[in-house]
Symmetry: C2
Subunit: 354 residues, 2 copies
DNA sequence: GTGAAAGCGCTAACAA
DNA sequence: TTGTTAGCGCTTTCAC
């Protein structure tokens, strides 16, 4: 047997038959070896691995998927990959997935239902074994699509009465309460809220949790101080500007996410207001940047790692042991206040007794 | 024909045979219709599409790939998905890819050669038709892997003498020259540079371009003012602190990327230095955040959209028309200065004549 | 333990 | 124009 020159070998990657021939075994044995079947003798196993290494062979995922029905692919759909919260989430999710031998397909919906529909469709075509829908409240569009195909899904803070669906409950209330309580202790009584877009469930939940916190602390809820923004930097600036048009203005604002809060920094700066001396600002998410803003952002941390872990675990259970009656179908991720430099007592000119 | 109840239908997704039966044609006709072959009569075409819609059918990508040899998958490997530059790049790349009927596989190497190797391996297993290696200078590890498999690749600022490789040349020099020139006009003569890690080619290129700019403007090159950082926020703070230990300190710094520059903001603030009054700072990348820092960051823009477009185009040509002799193998992406608020004349105490 | 052979769902060559 | 059929590379019965 004369070995083909390297150049030629590159033309067509080795397949399972090449390996079998080279190791002088059947393709079944090669397949078994690769998949760690216990029914292969050590002798053959060794020969096969040697051939594999020598040929630099690896299996074709598509063929594998086609015949086994398992793609070892999970999809993750995020709301907006441009918000640093999401890359951080994806990063964690990918790490965990790869560590377990899964691959991920990423899509960013950009809050556009049409884009979302296409994303899901593409994932379905690739035969994903599960989808993590991390859009935080825009999932209606895709639910039917996914459910009809019997694909396991995991949703953030959105429960679904379906055996294939798992839920990650996000306990915003705790963190938001801590934040409001902290501001109250500092002496603030006039606290505003820059909400996320009302098309997002999570935004509404956060807003409600904020109101509830105010209520249980005996603080007034001023409708005018609650402004709908869009979770972007620009939106934060705009929201702040709206706040400035009011006769009576809050001395502190809690924001529905960090991007909004950082936008407020800019808005305040434009108006010559100092954070935190003139205005206290609290964000939500605790993106990596939060530590590096000027001043460093006080914020409510929502752990990406915890979220990613829960999402992966939910999908893994569904994929690998779908009929286990004691499968965990609900996961909880909590939030907590991280105090940094964007909060202080209200300006002295403010009379704390209203 | 009695329709199966929905519950049952969900058990197994329809395949091409189901559609063929339902439309009363052969599976070949279904395949042709889906793939837009001109050899199908309008009558049959209509019947097929109707059946497809009715069954909510779509083709199995794995089967398709297996037989056609085309996966319509591109890989993109970035250095660090946590640096906002990269999500923005991925976003553009994905949009373009999807618009052309391609899917993307994303991986973040985190500057770890082992991770990189696994990424590539996984992509190869999935039979990607091309890989965009956007690691900016850590590509050696993967080159052989990729080249041995004859997979088209596109590299940022790294030329390869291989018919399957394309290059995107990044013209940092122009933008960096503009930046230095601008600082010089402002009256700065003592200009430092916070470099990226020297394991990255691009970091070295940027540093050299900086030195060249200094030279051609007749400004002194002080080795002490050039400090190696790591392109992260933390690294920027650390780099700034090193600068502060020097006897003679620069009045302006150009940074190898925006993250470093934002880190410098923090470092300066810690030391009670005001930007830009006491220190001018210029970044590179122009990430979305740059507009929203305090002060807004003057920076050298490197367009993610241009980069993504070039990368996709390079791969598309390789995938769809690999033997075209006039295929474009080199692409150029330029940079330019964006003046915002982090630059000003040097402090009055500084004597411009040195 | 090991191998032969039957498909997984699709495309493409070939017939009709 | 349409249909029939041979695989794509692999896993998985089923015999041996």
């Amino acid at each position: 047997m004369v070995r083909k020159p390297t150049r030629k070998a590159a033309a067509k990657p080795p397949d399972i038959r090449t390996v079998a021939a080279s190791a002088k075994v059947s393709i079944a044995t090669v397949s078994r070896t690769i998949n760690g079947s216990p029914l292969v003798s050590d002798k053959l196993k060794k020969r096969v691995w040697q051939a594999i290494r020598q040929l630099n062979y690896f299996p074709n995922t598509h063929a594998r998927t086609l015949v086994s029905g398992r793609s070892r692919l999970f999809g993750i759909i995020v709301e907006n990959i441009t918000n640093p919260f999401f890359p951080e989430l994806i990063q964690s999710f990918e790490e965990i997935a790869v560590a377990h031998g899964y691959e991920i397909l990423v899509s960013s919906s950009n809050s556009d239902p049409n884009v979302l529909t296409t994303c899901v469709r593409r994932m379905l075509e690739r035969k994903v074994e599960g989808v993590a829908v991390m859009t935080f409240g825009e999932e209606e569009t895709v639910l039917d699509q996914l459910m009809n195909r019997d694909v396991p899904i995991v949703l953030a803070e959105f429960s679904l009465d379906d055996p294939k669906a798992s839920t990650i409950l996000l306990d915003y209330a705790t963190g938001i309460y801590e934040a409001v309580q902290y501001l109250a202790k500092l002496g603030h009584t006039k606290i505003g809220f820059l909400a996320g877009p009302h098309t997002l469930h999570s935004a509404i939940t956060r807003e409600n949790d904020f109101k509830a916190a105010l209520r249980s602390l005996g603080l007034p809820i001023q409708k005018k101080w609650i402004i709908e923004c869009d979770h972007t930097l620009k939106g934060g600036v705009a929201g702040f500007n709206k706040l400035r048009t009011l006769d009576v203005q809050p001395t502190a604002v809690v924001c529905s996410n960090d991007m909004t809060a950082i936008g407020v920094f800019r808005g305040a700066h434009n108006e010559g207001l100092r954070v935190p001396q003139d205005l206290s600002v609290i964000g939500l998410d605790d993106i990596d940047f939060a530590e590096f803003t000027l001043p460093p952002l006080t914020t409510i941390r929502l752990s990406r790692t915890d979220l990613a872990r829960a999402a992966f675990e939910a999908l893994r259970q569904q994929a690998e042991d779908p009929h286990n009656p004691k499968m965990q179908r609900e996961f909880l991720v909590s939030t907590s206040l991280v105090v940094r430099g964007s909060t202080a007592a209200p300006p002295a000119s403010e009379n704390p007794k209203n």
